[in-house]
């Protein structure tokens, strides 16, 4: 339904001859796409954060709680903390300890930017946890994803930041291939196969499987990818994914390596540009 609504809006705007990207970037539908990215790409990072970051581990070590995020007529995700681990699963389950409802995509996005409050529908007794404990973890995730100046000079922090950045970009690309009109057009031109994004020499990596014009993201590496986009090191990956280097120059100099069915990467790069459009 969301996709259909976007497509109709796109066509109408084109017919009326009033379309321009800045306007669309502020529409409600754009907010809904952004909400999908926030829940299906950004929030997914909690899993890796808890697994790889000692600071995050110390925050949630003793948590045993399940939280359901749900946007009305939009995306939902369930986050479970147990035994020092975190599991994030897209979708809706009724039996969560806490249910946080959002009236719209825009509502969720405001909350993600610390400019609003969710509607607590279940789990009133967990209110202190929601107000005091959970924000410690989301604040830590924000610190890692949007590092302060100089923070990335610490190699361990840079590695963690890059891991989360790579994952955010990969999963956001998959979400956009289903919902953002420009990304849907780009994804429709990607042949079936697996695109492997990897930080050399040994990861982390994200796989994007293309099938019939949509992308599915997963963590890890593939022994036989159809196309590869590999970063010489963590620093290069961070600069590439944050859009601070010219990709063509980086490829020519061997800082970024591409091979295989590289037209898949050409189309993917157009989708990655859209990630930046939504998540800045």
């Amino acid at each position: 339904m969301v996709v259909l609504a976007l497509a109709v809006r796109w066509r109408r705007a084109r017919t009326a001859g009033v379309f321009h990207f800045v306007t669309v970037g502020r529409t409600m539908s754009d907010q809904l796409v952004k909400a999908y990215l926030n829940l299906h790409a950004v929030m997914l990072n909690l899993e890796d954060l808890v697994e790889h970051d000692p600071v995050a581990q110390s925050i949630c070590r003793n948590w045993k709680v399940s939280i359901q995020f749900a946007v009305v007529h939009g995306p939902s995700v369930r986050i479970v903390f147990e035994k020092g681990r975190c599991r994030v699963t897209p979708g809706f389950r009724l039996n969560s300890d806490i249910l946080l409802l959002f009236a719209s995509g825009a509502h969720l996005n405001k909350v993600m930017e610390n400019k609003g409050m969710p509607i607590l529908t279940r789990g009133l007794t967990r209110l202190p946890f929601l107000l005091k404990e959970f924000p410690k973890l989301t604040k830590r995730m924000e610190e890692v994803l949007k590092p302060a100046a100089g923070a990335v000079e610490d190699p361990a922090f840079l590695a963690l930041h890059t891991r989360l950045l790579l994952q955010t970009v990969g999963f956001a690309a998959a979400a956009l291939s289903l919902r953002d009109p420009k990304s849907m057009l780009a994804a429709s031109k990607i042949r079936d196969g697996i695109v492997a994004l990897k930080v050399l020499p040994s990861g982390p990596g994200v796989l994007l499987e293309s099938r019939k014009g949509t992308l599915t993201a997963s963590r890890g590496m593939s022994p036989r990818p159809t196309a590869c986009l590999e970063f010489r090191d963590v620093t290069t990956a961070q600069r590439f994914l944050s859009g601070t280097i010219d990709p063509f120059t980086a490829i020519a100099l061997g800082e970024v390596e591409i091979r295989g069915q590289t037209p898949m990467l050409d189309s993917l790069s157009l989708i990655l540009d859209r990630v930046e459009h939504y998540l800045k």
């Binding site: 001859g17 063509f248 020519a252 091979r259 069915q261 189309s267 157009l270």
Partner: protein, 412 residues
């Protein structure tokens, strides 16, 4: 066999990257060369079928500057014609006589074309062809083939590309190559709205096997366009004068309304041409379209010399023969080493691919190994032959390919 390294190319690229977006941009960008470390980035000099990079490595060139070099680099007859004209005037206050002579020569040479209009690049004339088609029909929409390349103007690009807005492509429709049924259906769906159908004489996109027209395809397309009042435009920028001196439409046996030429027309001198049928001469005259250097006389003199020489030596047949010898030899060598090399397109501009690996990675490695040994092969684009490629070049290339296959086999 010695393998090449490129320290000077890398040094100059790093310099370039500081003051030029991408370092080297467009179709000369090293990015599609996999891996870039196997390829030279800057040329120092060129002669005949060979070029020498700034590290002093010599290559037998199978890209021919991506098409323009057709008689060999620095072909004396062409360079002399250009030099003589430039000594009199090149860029002057009015055109020189070579413009008239070249137009007359092309009208006599190219089958069914009654006029010629000159510009600089292929994209100049493909875009002009669209404007002429729209001026002639009063219609907006253009049909092009999915994956077909007609330049870089906004109308030629995807609506999802950087710098392109939906309005740029809102009147561009696409259809599958060789699919007459789909083309007919699209024309019926937009009956009375289609100004032109633009396509290359055969389908030669990058990264995939090239496809020749199916039997009867072009004749049926011609009939459909005549019936529906659609201007049939052939983009002969890449194939022109490598298949047939009368134009590639003569080679495939049909008659378009407009034909775009560039690349091989002047052996590397900057000029392109749109040619058209008499019926479109008046609409063409109503479209205002020009450029600062479009009347430069030296490239016109070079074009005249190039075309005359190509005709005299039957350049297309010469290149087809050499290309076939090269491709047959490479296929045999691949087979000897246990690989399957597929050749598509035409022998004068073949597209090759090792089919043992659908991801192209194996093919990319083989092209890189050949290039490191002096046979300049790209893995993403069709290659080009010229009349300057000699039997000695082919034999040397086959020796290089043999060793590259052996290296590949050892690595697997």
């Amino acid at each position: 066999m010695k393998t090449y390294t490129y320290p000077q190319s890398r040094k100059w690229f790093q310099r370039a990257a500081k003051s030029i977006p991408c370092g080297i941009y467009g179709h000369f960008s090293p990015a599609p060369l996999v891996p870039p470390s196997a390829y030279p980035f800057f040329v120092d000099r060129a002669e005949g079928s060979r070029f020498v990079d700034i590290d002093g490595n010599e290559f037998i060139d199978y890209m021919c500057a991506y098409g323009p070099m057709v008689l060999g680099y620095n072909r004396p007859e062409v360079e002399e014609a250009a030099r003589k004209q430039a000594e009199n005037v090149n860029c002057g206050p009015t055109p020189g006589k070579p413009m008239v002579e070249l137009a007359e020569y092309l009208v006599d040479l190219v089958q069914g074309m009654d006029w010629a209009y000159f510009a600089k690049n292929g994209n100049d004339v493909t875009t002009y062809a669209l404007m002429v088609a729209r001026a002639a029909t009063g219609r907006r929409k253009i049909i092009k083939v999915a994956g077909g390349y007609h330049g870089v103007a906004p109308w030629t690009q995807g609506g999802d590309h950087a710098g392109i807005i939906p309005e740029d492509v809102s009147n561009i429709l696409t259809v599958e190559w060789n699919n007459l049924g789909a083309l007919t259906a699209l024309v019926q769906q937009h009956k009375g709205e289609i100004a032109g159908f633009i396509a290359t004489p055969y389908h030669h996109p990058t990264f995939v096997d090239n496809e020749l027209p199916a039997g009867g395809y072009w004749k049926s397309v011609e009939t459909l366009c005549r019936k529906e009042g659609i201007v049939l435009i052939i983009d002969d920028v890449r194939c022109g004068f490598r298949l047939d001196m009368r134009g590639s439409h003569a080679y495939f046996g049909f008659q378009p309304d407009l034909v775009c030429f560039c690349k091989a027309i002047a052996n590397g001198h900057p000029i392109s041409a749109l040619m058209g049928s008499g019926a479109l001469k008046t609409p063409a005259s109503k479209v205002f379209y020009t450029g600062s250097y479009w009347f430069s006389a030296a490239p016109m003199a070079a074009a005249l010399a190039t075309l005359k020489l190509l005709k005299k030596i039957d350049g297309p047949a010469n290149m087809q023969k050499t290309g076939k010898e090269l491709c047959d030899g490479l296929v045999d060598l691949a087979d000897k080493h246990g690989f399957k090399l597929k050749v598509t397109g035409v022998p004068s501009m073949p597209y090759l691919r090792l089919t043992d690996d659908d991801s192209l990675m194996l093919h990319q490695r083989w092209c890189a190994e050949c290039t490191r040994r002096g046979a300049y092969f790209t893995s993403h684009h069709n290659w080009f032959l010229s009349t300057a490629h000699t039997r000695e070049d082919i034999l040397r290339t086959l020796a290089i390919a043999d060793e590259a296959f052996a290296v590949l086999r050892k690595q697997l």
